[in-house]
């Protein structure tokens, strides 16, 4: 780099390239720029016409595919939502029906139970009344027997005590009079 600059640099050719700082060597302008233009333009058209449509196409196709899949998924989700709503509606309906049936059954059952109970109660009450009537009859009979026995016994008792014969009618009158007091 320290050699003296030769005078041959006005004609650009390779031999003098190291006399100047190589990256700034003006003798390389023309050959470099010609090939830069050729290669850059070539790359531009290769990328624009072939590579970019190819890669971009794949990316776009993928996005379309994903969009389609998302759309399909959304449609299916709507369908599922619809089915879900139908299901929930029929579930609610069934539940309402079940409640109604349960209520009517219960009402029917309790009415029947009430009726049977009333029947049983009525029968029981009748039996009770019969029984009471029988008891009263028996008691009355028993009490009237007591009067007969007393009048039967009273004649002999009086005869024994007083030695007087009393007729059965007198005894009876006396007893009923006594009982009537």
């Amino acid at each position: 780099m320290t050699e003296p600059v030769t005078t041959g640099t006005e004609v650009p050719h390779g031999g003098t390239a190291d006399k100047v700082f190589p990256p700034l060597d003006p003798s390389t302008v023309s050959p470099q720029l010609v090939w830069l233009a050729i290669t850059f333009v070539a790359l531009y058209f290769l990328l624009k016409k072939i590579a970019i449509p190819r890669i971009g196409g794949v990316i776009e196709e993928r996005q379309n595919r994903i969009q389609r899949d998302i759309d399909a998924a959304e449609r299916l989700k709507d369908e599922i939502d619809g089915a879900m709503r139908t299901y929930e509606k029929s579930l609610a309906d069934a539940r309402g029906n079940a409640t109604a049936i349960a209520r009517t059954t219960q009402e029917k059952l309790s009415a029947e139970v009430d009726r049977e109970r009333a029947e049983v109660e009525a029968a029981t009450a009748k039996k009770l009344a019969d029984a009471e009537a029988r008891i009263a009859e028996t008691k009355r009979k028993a009490l009237s027997s007591v009067g007969d026995i007393a009048s039967e016994i009273a004649g002999p008792v009086v005869k024994q005590l007083t030695g007087k014969d009393v007729s059965a009618d007198e005894v009876k009158r006396a007893l009923t009079a006594g009982a009537g007091e």
């Binding site: 390779g14 390239a17 190589p22 990256p23 390389t28 050959p31 890669i55 794949v58 990316i59 196709e61």
Partner: protein, 248 residues
């Protein structure tokens, strides 16, 4: 010590002349052709399956595509997508040439100022052509920002004009200088290893230190190679956005 500048020499491989213009096929041209074939070939090879569920290679190609497409959409909106092929070409061209240059012994086309300058001027001219084609004289609103008080407007406009015309300069120098500096640094540190080993004795013992440095700088340079391709492309998007929407 090996000459760190030697790697940037453009060597004439075989002479060629097109319409009287010097079109000698150089090592620079060789690597440009290689870069075009490599970037196009890799994209085509990676996307050969065209499968809905991408292979690893295909998803790399798609990631690069989506990366640049995202850049274009974010800066210019959907209407910027008509420039996508151009932007994508810039990105692939610069990225491939930067990466090719990282291979030892390979020529780095993007460390040539003429190449980066030509790319930057192409962007600059595209912006001007698109700007006037889209907006007519309305494109000049680019130099008259909204909401600036009238008494500072001439100054602001002057600054806007200067900044607009210095764009190709910074645009090209950024890429050129980054690639150049990185490769010189690598070469210098690699040269240290040889010098220290050659010196023998205690100097040889510390030779692993520049080796570690070269290791680190190599990793950094791979990052820079990607980053500069990204930055160049990103700025191209932003400049083109000015052409589409000059009203800021």
């Amino acid at each position: 010590m090996p000459d760190p500048i030697h790697q940037f020499e453009v060597k004439r491989l075989f002479p060629l002349e097109i319409f009287g213009v010097d079109a000698t096929f150089t090592n620079s041209a060789l690597f440009m052709v290689a870069g075009v074939l490599l970037s196009f070939g890799l994209l085509m090879y990676a996307s050969r399956g065209r499968s809905l569920v991408p292979s690893r290679m295909q998803s790399v190609a798609e990631s690069v595509y989506e990366f640049v497409a995202g850049m274009v959409r974010d800066s210019m909106g959907e209407q910027g997508m008509k420039f996508f092929p151009l932007i994508f070409t810039f990105f692939m061209f610069i990225l491939t040439l930067n990466m090719l240059g990282m291979i030892p012994g390979f020529f780095t086309v993007t460390s040539q100022i003429w190449v980066t300058a030509a790319l930057a001027i192409l962007v600059f001219l595209t912006v001007i052509v698109v700007g006037f084609a889209k907006n007519g004289l309305g494109f000049l609103k680019l130099f008259v920002p909204d909401g600036v008080p009238i008494y500072v407007l001439p100054l602001v406009s002057l600054i806007e004009v200067i900044s607009f015309f210095s764009r190709p300069l910074s645009h090209s120098l950024r890429l050129f200088a980054n690639m150049l500096a990185g490769h010189i640094t690598l070469k210098v540190f690699a040269g240290f290893i040889i010098m220290l080993l050659g010196a023998g004795g205690a100097a040889s013992a510390i030779a692993p230190l520049p080796l570690l440095a070269v290791l680190g700088i190599t990793a950094l340079e791979f990052l820079v190679a990607f980053l500069q391709a990204y930055v160049f492309t990103m700025l191209t998007c932003m400049y083109l956005n000015d052409a589409l929407h000059p009203g800021h």
